[in-house]
Symmetry: C2
Amino acid sequence: MADAPSTGTKPDPSRSQPQATSPQKGGSGAARSTRFETHPDRYRHWQLTFPVEHGGAVARLAMNVKEDGGGDYVLKLNSYDLGVDIELADALQRIRFEHPAVKALVITSGKDRIFSSGANIYMLGSSTHAFKVNFCKFTNETRLYLEEMSSETGIASVAALNGTASGGGYELALACDAIVLQDDGSSAVSLPEAPLLAVLPGTGGLTRLVDKRQVRRDLADVFSTLAEGVRGKRAVSWHLVDESPSRSQFDTAVKNRADALVATSKRKPHPPIALQPLEVTRREGGAEYKYVSLALDHAARTAALTVRAPTEPLPTTPDELAGAGSDAWILRAFRELDDALLDLRFNQPHIGVVALKTAGAPAAVLAVDHLLHTYGDDPLVRELTLFVRRVLKRLDLSAKTFFALVDPGSCFAGTLLELALAADRVYMLDADDGAVSLYTSRLNAGAYPMSNGLTRLGSRFLREPSRVSRVLEHAGPIDTKRAVEEGLVTFAPDDIDWEDEIRIAFEERASYSPDAMTGMEASLRFAGPETMETKIFGRLTAWQNWIFQRPNAVGQRGALTLYGSPERPEFDFRRT
Amino acid sequence: MADAPSTGTKPDPSRSQPQATSPQKGGSGAARSTRFETHPDRYRHWQLTFPVEHGGAVARLAMNVKEDGGGDYVLKLNSYDLGVDIELADALQRIRFEHPAVKALVITSGKDRIFSSGANIYMLGSSTHAFKVNFCKFTNETRLYLEEMSSETGIASVAALNGTASGGGYELALACDAIVLQDDGSSAVSLPEAPLLAVLPGTGGLTRLVDKRQVRRDLADVFSTLAEGVRGKRAVSWHLVDESPSRSQFDTAVKNRADALVATSKRKPHPPIALQPLEVTRREGGAEYKYVSLALDHAARTAALTVRAPTEPLPTTPDELAGAGSDAWILRAFRELDDALLDLRFNQPHIGVVALKTAGAPAAVLAVDHLLHTYGDDPLVRELTLFVRRVLKRLDLSAKTFFALVDPGSCFAGTLLELALAADRVYMLDADDGAVSLYTSRLNAGAYPMSNGLTRLGSRFLREPSRVSRVLEHAGPIDTKRAVEEGLVTFAPDDIDWEDEIRIAFEERASYSPDAMTGMEASLRFAGPETMETKIFGRLTAWQNWIFQRPNAVGQRGALTLYGSPERPEFDFRRT
């Protein structure tokens, strides 16, 4: 599935597949690229249908992984790789935008007696450490999107386990609102990673077990070390699943659950928005989208990521917004940004420091924000705002340093101001004629909470919460002097120093150990309260990072390395 | 500083020093043992005084590290190793028990122009991964004890930085309630670990920076990458320190702060309790204390840790309790348990699974609990309860599997029931004649919260909080049948199966990858809310574990390895 670098050509989206390759160990990632766009017409592993029995109110996603769809490994038993998960993420996005009548989701398997055996082990065993970590992060994001789709949009989900769900398969079920496991004497749920592979369940499983489902910790301990898993009534009594009907009762039980979710859904209809393919020109030196540019400096290990304000006439009502479809700036620009962030994560491992830039007319962005705020209760407006929220979270969670650069012509206004607030530092040119400004909008007050549940302004001013309202109440441009006073800016060099200071800051940052920067940023970005989400990314991910490189897992005699071979792993039994 | 194993002999506490050795890489830890007992008379690195100017209300701890006191490395510039921290932990404990008049603490340096340069880098560079991780955990516990001493006992602390505080030195200051930094043109605070050593500040520094002191995240980012640190007024304006008086004003400023803390302290006096040396007989196969036994099975990589109920006549009033001094069961048994846990952590790295056992008369423990509960407001009783709380937290945070074994003669009652509730699993013999029982006491209702702020019962029954009160309201013994019903027990084999089932459970557990077990247990033990404490242990520690074994830090060309040499580190710049 290697993908030759596409230079200066627009991809033909009707032919491209999501390329979820696992870079060979030691590979730079430059020769093979992972792409994240797909479409239901091209799904190889999932079937998205809308069963007539529910009159279109229920979407059904059936996993039926194509065994030879992965690459160098065989995707047996509905095991998955990144390509499978890219399709799932795409399906969730489309259900929200393209199928406004859907009020519940059933996730099941298209295979008999097996729901999913989780992430493919040979794929994991042959992947680089960085790929494994990024793969887990992406799958975790997708699981969280499933949960957010339930809590925010009112599309709750049922995991209809018509067979065994192991590892990541069970973790996918854990991300659903309800789990129905067929009681047929063999179908089980399990998290066999620790006993079989010497790694942790990598998609939030342990956290969801004790935090979301609140399984008793000792039962969770037994369950997480029981490779064969737990079946039927015991799975119900341990709260691992919600119901375990017999094979003959299974379909009815799932249907009843789905009906109940439809009946209590708070989802309100909006015009469908078809998500058109992104138009992007990729070069060795970056990528050019309509509103987003990614410029790579491979030698310096830095990049510049620019988001441009809208230039077309702007919709002024939700109807006009719907009419613009996926070309509406707010959707298109943030879909492009999302794609660029994933490109940076998966395909540009050597890039350490990213300049966040904006360009265009602040008034245009503020007009968009005005529309989104004024019609905040409109279902489509809400869906768009939630999408931007998810993309901004993806930015917070990307393991790259982000420095925002505010200079003449930049457009850090309202929604785009969030990019600066998400950055590790903000550099703003000290222009005393007011030539450089920041702008807030009402959307900075709560539309885009971070994973910790706080706004980016709230996270920034934990010590002095009064600063948040002071900044928000300030109407009109915030010039450099004022931005410094308000605490929005880290450094404000004047035009004599600007270039040198920025150059040195980027050079310095790019010279540090990337591991130390990743750990440091993960610790500094999320002060304040913790949520299940921050637990999954901050705590579980960190433990998994550690374990993913321990010789007991990935050494020559490690359990992950030897899985499937007749040889037994050898462990260094010293406890750390 | 290698310590020959002491076989069958009681140590002479008047001669022994804390042996804080850093095991050689690859060493089993068996040949060198770390011991945690010391006494102010034998401190080599700290001076504990009670300045007359405060009339005994202020304790002053001055760090003056003996350069040749560490072992193979030189402890320059008040850098510290485990031995230095063991003395600090001992001093804090003694201030609380032996010096009841103390209402504030000043931590300063006995050297001019340097407060502390943090953990000794050559010690870290020459230590095993497991030792580094355990060292960081112990120092974090000591910092948290400092904070708990302020919040719970009313002894707040001032870090009097009469010179530069770097890395762990500044982290120690962060654990104090107030930081006064001398403004002399050179003294600075800094966290240079990331830029200089490619590791994270390992003692909670990043978390305390943004969570405790709520330093703005971008300023925290700059600060944590600025090897030379921040001085004077800038340190104040970034909230890195609270005050930065000139050299001539420094002593007065510190004295004023200490006076103010004394004036607002809520501490109430109690009779002093001298902490007598522990009496312990150590053998290759374990250790024998008065109330605690540690039995090691090196071949099976398991251990049994037994705590025995009191046998002597019990105090019935706080006065009698004070009269018993450190021989009082509650203090002696838990000091012994604390010592055994540290022994397991540092000296028994190969032990993976620990059986938690108890023995003796439940009535005796319940009588102690009755006293502690009845006189809960008594300052000494409160101090004793807080001590038990800290030891139980040490148990929660130990990277070993704990299985509690409840069988005839066991004594899981009240305070000792917490051991079972802290265990990863509870095995209870199914004896239908009521021969085996658990007992609750009022102390299980809130005296011993975990790091997450919940009781162990509360953490166990997150899903069904009503179970907590049902268990607590149950007067008298809880037999096996009832214990199973109440959800207190994981497995209840009968006497035909007991031995086999326990053996197999221990064998299986000991056969798994110890890394996977550590990560799994850390995730399952602390469901529910997060606190600064769980953030430090769950999140920061995990990131540090990861980074501590990355080649960029500890590889042949890693920054930690090459520190102090003329060579520059070489990094693999791929971001993970």
